[in-house]
């Protein structure tokens, strides 16, 4: 069983296998289930992700009314063709937003690694799909590779916003996605780790400050930027750029930052954007309570 990214890469390189394969083999060993059964379970997750993206692209509105409809706006904008960044990035962003809008609307999603950060992995996957034309098996492998890196973060740091801030949620998700994009694009296991490190480095310190305590503002847009971050970092790694700080040390840094982060910024709705005048007004409006936490 790999305990950190260094071990994961070492196993992959020494056995000349992909990261996804190492994750599948470990899952088989841990559960005693067949490869087919594990694949079928991941296939089901992929199906849920596909449905969520489709639903989000049709347009949803959350229960609070705070979010919804942005994925549609972005797709229409892409169609016009006058975008400044890139089609694939914007496609990933819109699909990440689509998923997270469905999540905010209490729709069915697959947590990757959490619900608040559920947009990034599928968002990038379904955007990259249109460029690389992967087989269904390769798409499922994308999820195993994401899972392998998330596994390391969850066990050595945290994937909980309440414990480690949003860097632990959207940060982890984005790093996981970046690594999986690299593998799907034909990069090496080491390049996967570089992409993960580059992505997570750029999300360090990200606070969890949900407005009115709801996982939608700013979470939906953070999923958007996480997806963009993952796409760029994957390209950087594929170009041969490496992270000066090794991936495991970045994960450790994220963990320690989370520990020193004040509670007000860890999913308590007491600080950050949640404590802005507008944030407080929305809280009062949604829950029909007076502005009492105002600071």
């Amino acid at each position: 069983m790999f305990r950190n990214v260094a071990e994961l890469i070492e196993i992959a390189e020494s056995t000349n296998k992909k990261i996804s394969e190492i994750m599948i083999e470990q899952e088989m060993e841990f559960t005693g289930k067949s490869r087919e059964a594990i694949f079928a379970q991941m296939d089901k997750n992929l199906e849920i992700m596909e449905q969520a993206v489709e639903r989000g692209l049709e347009g949803v509105k959350s229960v609070s009314g705070l979010t919804g409809g942005d994925a549609v706006l972005l797709q229409k904008y892409i169609e016009k063709g006058n975008f400044l960044t890139g089609k694939n990035i914007l496609d990933a962003v819109s699909k990440a937003v689509a998923t997270n809008e469905v999540n905010a609307a209490m729709g069915t999603i697959c947590a990757t690694p959490t619900a608040g950060s559920a947009g990034v992995v599928p968002g990038t996957l379904f955007a990259v799909k249109n460029v690389l034309n992967p087989t269904r098996e390769e798409m499922i492998n994308f999820l195993f590779t994401s899972g392998a890196f998330g596994f390391v973060v969850a066990n050595n740091a945290s994937i909980s916003g309440a414990a480690g801030g949003c860097q632990a949620e959207v940060g982890s998700a984005s790093g996981m996605a970046a690594a999986a994009i690299v593998e799907m694009a034909g990069g090496t296991p080491d390049q996967c780790a570089q992409a993960m490190a580059i992505t997570l480095k750029n999300m360090l310190g990200l606070v969890c400050d949900p407005v009115a305590g709801l996982v939608e503002v700013p979470c939906v847009k953070r999923n958007a930027m996480g997806a963009a971050n993952a796409m760029v970092a994957a390209d950087m790694a594929l170009a041969g750029i490496t992270s000066t700080i090794p991936c495991d040390e970045v994960i450790d840094a994220m963990y320690k930052i989370g520990q020193t982060m004040p509670t007000a910024l860890k999913e308590t709705a007491q600080g950050g954007l949640a404590a802005t005048p507008t944030g407080r007004e929305l809280e009062a409006k949604i829950f029909g309570v007076p502005l009492q936490k105002g600071d």
């Binding site: 069915t108 999603i109 608040g116 632990a168 709801l214």
Partner: protein, 220 residues
């Protein structure tokens, strides 16, 4: 390692919006339900930390009640669980606690009916994964690394040996075990971490042993 399966990371399939506040809460409720062994008539649910601050918007309340009604994390009925509980005659009350707990996402569930009560404290550690830290006043020290069996039993000689024999018969290896009791000769709890996944047949056989009140498995 707290997370052992890739499906702890890519998963669960769930109703939004928050894996720790919604899916995790549903799982805490469902473990309480499964340990209680039947649908309770009433439930007092206390939220601590981030759960207390944000439960309304996250549907933590509907999720934990969904769990008490035996719904899985992806069950659409979670959204209407409060009304469903009401129509099933289950009375529910929520309490926002100020106490600082070890973990920011902590819930205490006390459920019962005319035949008994159960009190459970659970924490939601992220991504929908939970740990049960207390059961009926017994502190549970589950590492979360292995499947576990909880056995409520009468504090009598031979009770532990009986359980160990059944596990041996099914070739199940015990990795860690603890027995705690509140008073000599009264109710006691065995917490057993094992290396293998546990079949329902094992649970049935354990339940049939003398002095055993209840057997529940905790597997992810």
């Amino acid at each position: 390692m707290k997370y052992r399966s890739v499906f702890d990371i890519i998963g669960p399939i769930m109703i939004g919006p928050s894996s720790s506040h919604t899916a995790g809460a549903a799982r805490i409720g469902r473990v309480a339900r499964s340990l209680f062994g039947r649908q309770p008539k009433w439930a007092n649910i206390s939220f601590y930390g981030s759960f207390a601050k944000t439960y309304k918007g996250h549907g933590t309340d509907v999720a934990i009640v969904g769990g008490l009604l035996d719904f899985d994390t992806y069950d659409e009925r979670i959204k209407t669980s409060l009304q469903l509980a009401d129509s099933l005659g289950v009375s529910i009350s929520f309490h926002e606690e100020d106490a600082i707990t070890d973990h920011p996402n902590t819930a205490k569930v006390v459920i019962g009916d005319e035949d008994g009560e159960l009190e459970l404290v659970g924490i939601s550690i992220g991504g929908g994964k939970i740990e049960i830290t207390e059961l009926n006043g017994f502190a549970l020290k589950l590492s979360g690394n292995h499947p576990a069996i909880l056995v409520v039993h009468d504090d009598r000689y031979g009770a532990i040996a009986g359980v160990a024999n059944v596990l041996a018969k099914f070739a199940i290896n015990i990795g860690h075990m603890e027995v705690s009791r509140k008073e000599k000769g009264k109710k006691a709890l065995m917490t057993i971490e094992v290396d293998q996944n546990i079949d329902d047949k094992v649970i049935q056989e354990l339940s049939a042993l003398p002095n055993i009140t209840q057997v529940t498995k905790i597997v992810d």
